[in-house]
């Protein structure tokens, strides 16, 4: 194996890794917004919002991301949803801002389904006794949610949300297929430029690992600490 290409191409990887992280970050933010709405819909008393949220979640979780990527990317644009190209942001990113937005929307719509389930589970995991204690003190449903349930749910949700970030970092590699210049795309470019079809992938794998592994260890550590604090 020959990794001499790194001397010349490391800025490619650096830029790709930066874009991957930005992409994952904003996707999770969008996914969180979508997920929050979905979870509230799922916990609603009414049938219609519950059905819509369930259908959304089941459909997204039941089909491959690759298919979703194609459908959303080409579909959104063919019904006229297009993202403006903000030039200075494009410069900053080193890739077209409108492409970048399309990537975020695709990943965010996907991630939203998973985050929605994280939220719902996090809220439902709060012991029913907590709600009962609050209600028996005369607190209203809203107060109970606001002061008792949500603050505790957040502790359940945060680690899972961090984990979703790790998952999205990995899954975002798929957007390279439609030409968004993330880490995987850059690695592919290096493969083409150097005519070395294999080694540039190893470098990408190591970089992905360096992004995800410390992060998930950190999350596991925080989770253990939080749980220890409970006792």
């Amino acid at each position: 194996m020959n990794f001499s290409f790194l001397a010349r191409y490391w800025p490619f990887y650096l830029n790709g890794a930066k874009n991957t992280i930005l992409l994952a970050m904003f996707s999770v933010v969008l996914g969180t917004a979508i997920g929050l709405i979905l979870s509230l819909m799922k916990l609603s008393k009414h049938r219609v919002p519950r059905f819509i949220a369930t259908a959304y979640i089941e459909f997204i979780r039941g089909t491959p991301l690759l298919v979703q990527l194609f459908i959303i990317y080409y579909g959104l644009q063919s019904i006229g949803i297009r993202f403006p190209n903000v030039v200075w942001l494009s410069k900053l990113l080193g890739i077209s801002f409108s492409d970048f937005m399309a990537g975020i929307v695709t990943l965010g719509i996907n991630s939203g389904a998973y985050v929605g389930e994280i939220f719902r589970a996090g809220i439902q995991a709060v012991d029913k006794g907590q709600t009962e204690a609050a209600r028996s003190l005369g607190m209203s449903q809203f107060m109970t949610m606001r002061y008792i349930v949500i603050p505790q749910a957040i502790r359940n949700i945060l680690p899972a949300l961090g984990n979703e970030f790790v998952v999205v970092i990995k899954e975002s590699s798929i957007v390279s297929i439609i030409g968004i210049a993330d880490l995987m795309y850059r690695a592919d470019t290096v493969r083409g430029n150097t005519f070395q079809p294999f080694e540039p992938l190893i470098v990408a794998a190591v970089l992905y690992f360096l992004m995800t592994f410390p992060l998930s260890k950190l999350l596991a550590y925080i989770e253990r600490r939080m749980r220890a604090g409970d006792k």
Partner: protein, 240 residues
């Protein structure tokens, strides 16, 4: 103070309460005993509508609280509830646990609520724990805090659901002590418990529940001394 008329509760096909008519008066300490699964908890939870009864009525301080549209939260404030598993809020300090509802629901200022909380904490001997989190307390301490939390709403009646059965034996005493104190001060109490000594010593009336009905009731001396119902006798034989 509280009357129930033909109170019924089903879970799906399972009839848990099969029509309970009873009344509880000001200053009474009513102790409910009975085998596991007989519906004791369900009855208590129906009283403050944590469970919605399937049938019957509950009159609390003159109002039928089972009628729709009533201000439930208002009624619940007047009934303090203490749970088997304490249900303290783990993300708040002891003080915050106690002052939250008085501030948000009764609208007390922070100082008022805190002063009241401190007084109550002193009474149960836990003043120095006010800034710790529930996670660092023993079971007995948790339950005493839970009682204080309910008392801070100045309820007219206190409901206890097996308040000592999740405790290590050497902590049972400290909780019963607090409950004895409350009874002595004339608090109206409805207590589900397996502590027969407490029932005998502190109860003004004992109700024996079995399979969703009140099978027998009477003063402790009669129930423990001369139970009429054969089921009561059988039960007492087992647990005493």
């Amino acid at each position: 103070m509280i009357q129930t008329m033909d109170l019924k509760k089903d879970f799906g096909k399972l009839q848990v309460l099969k029509g309970i008519t009873s009344s509880f008066n000001q200053g009474e300490v009513a102790v409910i005993i009975g085998p596991s699964g007989s519906g004791k908890s369900t009855f208590l939870r129906c009283l403050n509508l944590l469970e919605e009864p399937t049938g019957g009525t509950i009159i609390f301080e003159g109002t039928d609280i089972t009628k729709d549209g009533h201000n439930l939260d208002k009624h619940r404030q007047k009934m303090g509830m203490v749970f088997q598993l304490f249900n303290l809020f783990p993300h708040m300090t002891v003080l915050k646990n106690i002052t939250l509802a008085p501030m948000k629901v009764r609208g007390l200022s922070g100082e008022e609520a805190e002063a009241a909380a401190i007084t109550l904490l002193r009474r149960v001997g836990l003043e120095e724990k006010k800034d710790t989190y529930p996670g660092q307390l023993s079971g007995g301490q948790k339950q005493r805090i839970a009682i204080v939390r309910a008392l801070a709403m100045q309820p007219d009646v206190m409901l206890f659901d097996e308040p000592t059965s999740a405790l290590d034996p050497e902590m049972v005493g400290e909780v019963l002590e607090v409950m004895r104190g409350l009874a002595a001060e004339g608090m109206t109490m409805i207590v589900v418990t397996h502590e027969m000594r407490f029932a005998r010593d502190v109860g003004t009336r004992v109700l024996f529940m079995d399979e969703g009905i009140i099978a027998e009731e009477g003063p402790p001396a009669q129930i423990f001394g001369a139970p009429k119902n054969p089921r009561t006798r059988e039960f007492l034989q087992k647990v005493l």
